[in-house]
Symmetry: C2
Subunit: 146 residues, 2 copies
């Protein structure tokens, strides 16, 4: 039958190729995580680092996961001392999650961790290729958020 090498052929179905690429890179990134923190935790921490103080619901929306999933992520981050929780000023149901000093430090360390796997791989690319990935990242965010 038709013999499309979907992993390589440039003209082949984009959705299939992009799906494979993302699945495989995602596996790689998860397996390359540090001992201290998982990729899911790091992702939430980045969002918190950008928005400073958020409710669990805002975090879940921002990370595009369901509230129960975020509950577990927050609990693990709290236990690790990377975030704290304080009362919401007006709504007793909600709470405010913020980075601790340790959380901010870890984020800063991650950001400058040039020895990290992905940083190394990116450093091996040309400037043009990094530009392509940068634009792709923006397009992907738009798609994933839609």
């Amino acid at each position: 039958m038709d013999q499309p090498d979907l992993t390589a052929a440039p003209g082949a179905d984009l959705a299939a190729r992009l799906r494979l690429s993302v699945v495989r890179l995602s596996r790689r990134l998860r397996s390359q995580r540090s001992d201290a923190i998982t990729l899911t935790q790091l992702s939430a921490l980045y969002t918190l680092g950008a928005c400073r103080a958020m409710t669990p619901g805002e975090l879940a929306t921002s990370e595009r996961v369901r509230p129960p999933s975020m509950t577990r992520v927050i609990a693990s981050l709290e236990e690790a001392g990377l975030v704290t929780r304080r009362q919401h000023p007006t709504d007793g149901r909600q709470s405010i999650i913020e980075l601790t000093r340790a959380g901010a430090d870890l984020l800063a360390a991650e950001a400058s961790a040039r020895e990290r796997w992905l940083d190394k791989r990116l450093a091996e690319l040309t400037e043009d290729e990094r530009g392509t990935l940068s634009r792709a990242s923006e397009i992907i965010d738009r798609m994933a958020g839609a």
Copy 2:
């Protein structure tokens, strides 16, 4: 409080942005999977569709997972009647995995499933944006395979 942050800022650390993008798109893709098959199974099926006949070890290497993980994926595909296993001609330890007719049919159906979430999103992009994603996909594959 829409993130002004690492997900959007063009000058921000590429590794961090790409990591977030890939994690989020991966979540989306897994949640958008059909009822019939998971993304992990589909990924293995695509590889089998391209390479026709492979041993479990070759499949694991190609998908970049560990052998025990591939054992489970193959078992689930076998149970679903999407792949079959036959004896290796010269090595009794190995076996040969191949698509069944049902597996090939499902793959063909997926490939032409224009109603799928990712296909819809991609169709909304400009030709230029799709070109960027296509090039990014190739770069990502090179990185993930390195």
